[in-house]
């Protein structure tokens, strides 16, 4: 058997770099990465057959009981090549699979010399996989194309082998064919990883330089930092230093994951493992930063470090105002594990106290929100997401706007908005509908290529604001779910943008203000005033609802005055019932917010601001409480 027992395998800190292969698997979410990883754990025998379980590396909860949180960040797999019969150490490094985490992906890729490009041969490559593939190619990684799920009856390995070959410039027959499910071809894949991917190169005698490619907070151990040693070595009990901040820590423990954490004597050139210093906050151990030693620090950091920059902002408010302190605590806790999350308290006339939160993108926003709700049992309302604008005034002053209500009054000279370079992959029959959508969203076509006979890659520059506003849902529904999307930031560009205010009885309600393109201001105004007309109950006087750009009214609706709000009959037996009914209605009134003299139910704010999913949730909660 080509497996080697851990005890007999080359040991951490004393493994010759020539025996090491560092690789990652680039795959779309359901293309079988976890199953393939399971299979690799099985045939390298780092997990005994009787302990094997599905998606072994994804089981956060189970691993947490062992006192350390692992999510397949990096697993050390000993393997004897059946080609040359020699022993090797394969380090499988995980890559986050989504558009928002391009930077994190790039750091994971930077820790590897090669990548397995895994594609489901019933579905073909997806836009995000393609984007990560390009990233890997930019990082000069050796790409091993692999078609997975060859056991499926609807597999089309020949078609997608041709597609992969065209993308990476190899021959279709170079694509390996495996089944993570049956294990077919997995041993050959490991052999090819050894054969094709170059061994890491570094100077063992130079000052230590290790790349942080992930950083995870664990409630038992504090922050667990995942590193790839480039030069020198890391040793337990040594004083280490973060290059970007200069902060010094003691390396309490250094080790490898195989796939349980195993403390080691250290990590040498080319090795991948973990480091524990006892810090409690991932922001002190940032992805992309360089770790060196305090006593012999490097002068040159590894390239590519960036501060995470929030791109999308949204207000998060507890449905029940009393939950505000719980939300604060939950965000504080989450930030320990999420260096990209930023937030500050915000109060809204409509939604009460909450937080303005900044995210890397929409998925990041969803993940944060889901974790807050699931792990902290919170019921949250999020306001429509918006991007960051830089507004230059006539007097030259520049205002950074993360919330439409901060948009300055007065003469605006220019408004800059973030632009992204987006890639859409779809069957060619949808080219027309995709281009229509992108044009409508102010896109600029960059190019289009056929990646196979009937699939195209379409590239557009799009304002990020257009993407955060239901672009993905629209794309999916207009292409029957076949299109996939990826995007990366491409700097700011000037846009013809205005702030549209919504006025109730002449009074602006800042929660409803939005920054939109001038050509779409009218449509937004009509949509929002119409929506509010439906949502705000009739008052005892007429309520005009207006949309305005500055002092100019662009749309108008009105809620007619209520005429009748009384029960005609009130005799002996009706009195208790009527009192109770009025008490109940009064309870409902407590959830009303006053805008001037207008009573607006909180639900109306929520329905006007929140996503469809929020509204479904509120309905479900209300139904359950009845």
């Amino acid at each position: 058997m080509p497996a080697i027992s851990l005890a007999k395998a080359p040991q951490p800190a004393s493994t010759n770099p020539a025996q090491i292969r560092n690789f990652c698997i680039i795959a779309h979410i359901d293309h079988g990465k976890s199953t393939l990883a399971d299979r690799m754990l099985g045939i390298t025998e780092v997990v005994e057959a009787r302990n094997m379980r599905a998606q072994y590396l994804d089981r956060m909860d189970i691993e947490r009981e062992r006192g350390i949180t692992i999510k397949s960040q990096a697993v050390r797999l000993p393997w004897r090549s059946s080609i040359d019969g020699k022993e090797y150490i394969l380090n499988m490094i995980d890559t986050p699979g989504h558009v928002d985490f391009t930077y994190e992906v790039s750091r994971s890729l930077a820790a590897c010399e090669g990548a397995v490009l895994l594609v489901d041969c019933a579905q073909g490559i997806e836009a995000q996989t393609l984007a990560n593939l390009y990233l890997a190619m930019e990082n000069n990684l050796t790409i091993i194309p692999v078609l997975n799920k060859i056991d499926l009856p609807n597999a089309q390995p020949d078609k997608f082998a041709a597609e992969l070959a065209r993308l990476i410039g190899c021959q279709p027959e170079d694509c390996l064919r495996v089944s993570g499910k049956t294990g077919d071809g997995v041993a050959e894949l490991l052999d090819q990883i050894v054969a094709q991917i170059p061994a890491p190169v570094g100077d063992p005698n130079a000052p230590a330089r290790a790349l942080i490619f992930d950083s995870v907070y664990d409630s038992y151990r504090g922050v667990v930092t995942y590193v790839r040693v480039v030069d020198g070595h890391l040793t337990p009990r040594e004083q280490i230093q973060m290059f970007s901040t200069g902060v010094r820590h003691e390396a309490l423990e250094v080790g490898v994951i195989s796939p349980e954490p195993i403390a080691s004597k250290g990590l040498g050139v080319g090795e991948v493992g973990y480091l524990i210093t006892g810090v409690k906050d991932v922001r002190q151990s940032r992805v992309g930063d360089t770790i060196t030693t305090y006593n012999n620090p490097t002068k040159e950091p590894l390239s590519g470090y960036k501060d995470p920059k929030p791109m999308v902002f949204s207000g998060l408010f507890p449905l029940d105002g009393a939950d505000f302190p719980i939300l604060r605590e939950a965000l504080d806790k989450l930030q320990l594990n999420d260096a990209a999350l930023v937030y500050e308290p915000e109060s809204s006339a409509a939604l009460g106290f909450g937080f303005r939160c900044g995210f890397l993108g929409l998925l990041h926003m969803e993940i944060v929100r889901e974790r807050l709700e699931r792990e902290h049992k919170l019921n949250l309302i999020s306001t429509a997401p918006n991007v960051v604008y830089n507004v230059t005034m006539d007097d030259g002053k520049v205002v950074r706007v993360t919330n439409p209500s901060e948009f300055p009054d007065g003469k605006v000279a220019a408004v800059l908005e973030p632009i992204v370079k987006s890639t859409i992959l779809a069957p060619s029959e949808f080219i027309g509908t995709i281009m229509e959508l992108c044009q409508d969203r102010r896109g600029i076509l960059l190019g289009m290529d056929y990646i196979s006979e009937d699939r195209v890659e379409i590239r557009y520059d799009l304002p990020l604001a257009e993407i955060v506003f239901d672009f993905f849902d629209q794309l999916k529904s207009r292409t029957k779910g076949y299109a996939s999307l990826d995007y990366e930031e491409k700097g700011d560009a000037e846009g013809n943008l205005v702030k549209v205010d919504i006025l109730l009885q002449g009074e602006a309600v800042d929660a409803f203000s939005a920054i939109v393109h001038r050509d779409k201001a009218y449509a937004y105004g009509v949509m929002m005033t119409g929506k509010l007309r439906e949502l705000i109950p009739r008052q005892q006087f007429e309520v005009p609802i207006q949309a305005a750009i500055g002092a100019r009214i662009i749309a108008r609706e009105s809620i007619r005055a209520i005429r009748k709000d009384v029960l005609a009959k009130c005799y002996g037996g009706d009195i208790s019932r009527k009192r109770k009914l009025l008490e109940k209605q009064k309870e409902g009134k407590k959830r009303m917010k006053m805008v001037g003299r207008v009573e607006v139910p909180q639900e109306a704010f929520v329905a006007a601001l929140a996503t469809d999913a929020d509204i479904e949730k509120i309905k479900a909660a209300r139904k359950a409480s009845q």
């Binding site: 006087f541 009748k564 709000d565 009384v566 005609a568 002996g572 009195i575």
Partner: protein, 373 residues
Amino acid sequence: MSLSFYVHIPYCIKRCGYCDFNTYTPSELQDGATLEVVSNDYIDAVLKELESTPKQIVPTIFFGGGTPSLLPAKDLGRVIQKISDRNGLTDNCEITLEANPDSVTSEKLEGYLEAGFNRISFGMQSAKPHVLAVLDRTHNPANVDKAVTMARAAGFKSISVDLIYGTPGESLNDWRHTLESALSLDIDHLSAYALIVETGTKLAAQIKRGDLEMPNDDLMAEMYLLIDPLCEAHGMSWYELSNWSKPGHECRHNIAYWKNQNWWGLGPGAHSHIDSKRFWNIKHPTTYKQKLFSGESVMAESEDLTPGQKRDEAIMLGIRMREGLSTSDLNPSQIQTLTSYGADGFLQLHKDRVQLTPTGRLIADRIVRELTF
């Protein structure tokens, strides 16, 4: 301290589609039974319940239902007699009978007068046959005129009719016609109620299915605003949100409810209010009878009103009346709220009283919510 009595007669020949009152057709209670059979001992049961009531002098008695006029005058008379013997009646005691215009004859009416009744209220509902059909009422509109004439001839001093507006399919002109028909009768008092669709009724099911459509609130409001001027033209003024009368013909029994005086409801499902306590009887006539005859209490539930609830009820009920609220009972923030409604024409703020205007009466519940709870 005085004590008014409500006497519930839980029987009808048939149930109307809009009605959710505690009433039964004889065959609902006992297979194939006649009214005589099931109500035979009902009056006995009521008299039994009467024994547990406070012995205070009685200013008003009101027989409602159901259809009290289904029962023979002598049976109802037994109740009046016993109350009179036990508690005593005030000199001008008001004793009202709710009557179906179809089920009265001159002889019966004379019998009721003899039994002690001096006020009668006919369920007219509408003068339009298509409206009556939706309400499931069977009477011929012309019978109301006959019944009122007979009642006057028999000697009733105070005659009232009940109307319902806002029935599906009823136009503003239909309603005007109904009002004018009612006001052309020789009556002293008029009650007009907006139709309320109660859950569980046949009407609610028809609306849910889409067979019938309720008129919108704007039409309901127009209908309500029609009543005041037409009544005034016939010498009747509003004295409670849904009630109009000639001077001196206000229903004193209902005023006792609205002024939170003491009143006791006899019969299944009937409510009572004694001092600061509200309570009500078990609903089903058969259980009601059985319990009384075995010496058990028929009270189903009760509630003791807190001082706050009493204050709120006083506002909720008082604001509906012509006298309105006394400003001395209101705090400055309540006065401020009322001032803003006053500015919009919903009420008049006098020196010591607050009185709703017709448009204000239409949103009385909204004003009450702002003042209380």
